[in-house]
Symmetry: C2
Subunit: 320 residues, 2 copies
């Protein structure tokens, strides 16, 4: 099956399962908790979860799908809380939860999804000990995501973030939840420790590369294509890999931290291309993807292993 | 052993275990997450957890104590988030987390404790299936606490809250976590379903009664004794069982929703006593305690069962 077909099919399945689980909210708070969850999204974490499970035990994923939903629900909890912290008004084309219901309800809505994430893992059809390992890994992952978000916020006050600090931050903020999706899928499906570890590392790497690609899209994609402000990271002085690489190559981005016209942005992109910044960042992302895929040698050859490789490249080939 | 000696001993043990687990914070976020957790507190939930475990299997609690800490950590997570919502500046005599670190870090600090709560359960020495049941119950409990907090906030805009609505709210906001403490302690210790259910119901009831006692203390205790503003609930128009009972007896508390002198408060207390409001609310709390204790007939007679009965009365006999 083509990757895009697979992702479309999984997204439909996830949407339908979420509807079964939570489609009939019994309280105002439940409605607020559902808002973002039912506003779409690519459902990439459950897709990765399924591929990981089926790559170690073909046909196993349907028995453990509640745990696949858990990763999507976790992701949505973090988005609701992040949007409060970042004071973002829109997400997935809809008003954010705190914009609609106020901050207190939004904090609680995130907390409700957090609880559901752990509850869902318990509903997977798998041995108790495997589910305990999955709960433990999800808990560690959530703590790391919080640490990543805190680091990201603390970078806003600095202009000397190193490449290693940045990579550690994006691995926590974005990577580890993909790592957990792949690891939990494979461990609940009965994968060996070696397979689970390989899939965890694969997930962390493609997740970090996904974030780097996001930074490139922020700079390079027109607002018509991305639906977002172009070059907002530069304007806000964010410490992305682009900014860090530029600094290393002697380009000071501080003067660009202001309102930018289309022409300004075009000049800046030309400058960064000319100095090799864009190529260098792209190469970094590609190397992470290559390394992620080569770690999968411990898996036997299956259609799912092929799709995992396709998924990894998809993470950095998307242009919005 | 006397209850007070038991509680003191347990609090010391909990403080020492928390020190072992989290005493060496590795990040600024970890420090913020530790702040309230290390600021003291009565540690009543771990005490209840221990009594429940040892009442069904004598001597079992020390093997599963990480799960006992989980209840305390959960409680602290909810306090950090509640303090943000309620804009409270002080708690346990210390500045609140959001006052010291700002709201974004406080949201994350609560989220970190939330993750640790689930992680701790996984560290108990107990069969995998029992731990999965414990995780599932803790998740349901956290969702209910959020619902209770949301209901409590929604009551602020109403003056027609019924007795049943109030009792449902305090059972969720305060009761279910005591219920979970007792149920998780007994189920990880190998208690029967009947014992676990009885202890769950016991916990929910004494927790709700605890909250009613809190409302009485708010009205009756002098600031010198309680360390808090006296009659703040009346001033803020809170829908407590006192306010609801007063309304049923034809007393309108709306005119008292203003700055109150000591004499005002004394007159109001005299009025409420005279009309039997205070006695009625006290009786409600006592009946809940009586009902909680009588549900424990499924336990064999042990020193722990005796302490559970003492603990129930302690919950409504404390006067600050």
């Amino acid at each position: 099956m083509e990757l895009e077909t697979y992702l479309k099919k999984t997204a439909d399945e996830v949407n339908s399962l979420l509807q079964d689980w939570y489609g009939d909210p019994k309280s105002p708070l439940s409605q607020a908790a559902n808002h973002l969850l039912f506003a779409g999204g690519k459902r990439l974490r459950p897709a990765l979860f399924k591929l990981a499970a089926d790559s170690v035990t073909p046909g196993s994923s349907h028995r453990i799908m509640p745990a696949g939903l858990s990763l999507e629900v976790t992701h949505n909890f973090t988005l609701i809380h992040d949007d409060i912290m970042d004071k973002d008004e829109y997400r997935r084309g809809q008003k954010t939860v705190h914009t609609l219901w106020g901050e207190p309800v939004a904090i609680l809505a995130g907390d409700v999804l957090y609880a559901r994430a752990f509850s869902l893992i318990c509903h997977a059809e798998a041995p108790g000990d495997a589910k305990v390992r999955a709960v433990s890994l999800l808990a560690r992952t959530c703590e790391e995501i919080c640490e990543g978000q805190q680091q990201d916020m603390s970078f806003e006050e600095r202009n000397d973030v190193t490449r290693d600090e940045y990579l550690a931050m994006v691995t926590r903020k974005t990577g580890v939840l993909y790592g957990a999706a792949a690891a939990i899928g494979s461990l609940l499906a009965g994968g060996s420790d070696e397979q689970v570890d390989a899939l965890y590392n694969y997930g962390c790497k493609i997740g970090a590369a996904f974030q780097i690609q996001d930074d490139l899209i922020d700079l390079l994609a027109s607002p018509e294509k991305s639906g977002k402000d172009q070059a907002s990271d530069i304007r806000e002085g964010k410490q992305t890999l682009i900014a860090i690489t530029a600094r290393k190559k002697g380009i000071d981005l501080q003067p660009w931290r202001r309102s930018l016209t289309r022409d300004d942005i075009a000049s800046l992109i030309a400058l960064l291309r000319d100095k090799g910044v864009i190529d260098s960042v792209r190469r970094d992302a590609e190397e992470m993807i290559g390394s992620a895929i080569s770690g999968l040698h411990v898996l036997t050859d299956t259609p799912e292993k092929k799709l995992l490789a396709d998924l990894a490249w998809y993470f950095i080939k998307r242009d919005y």
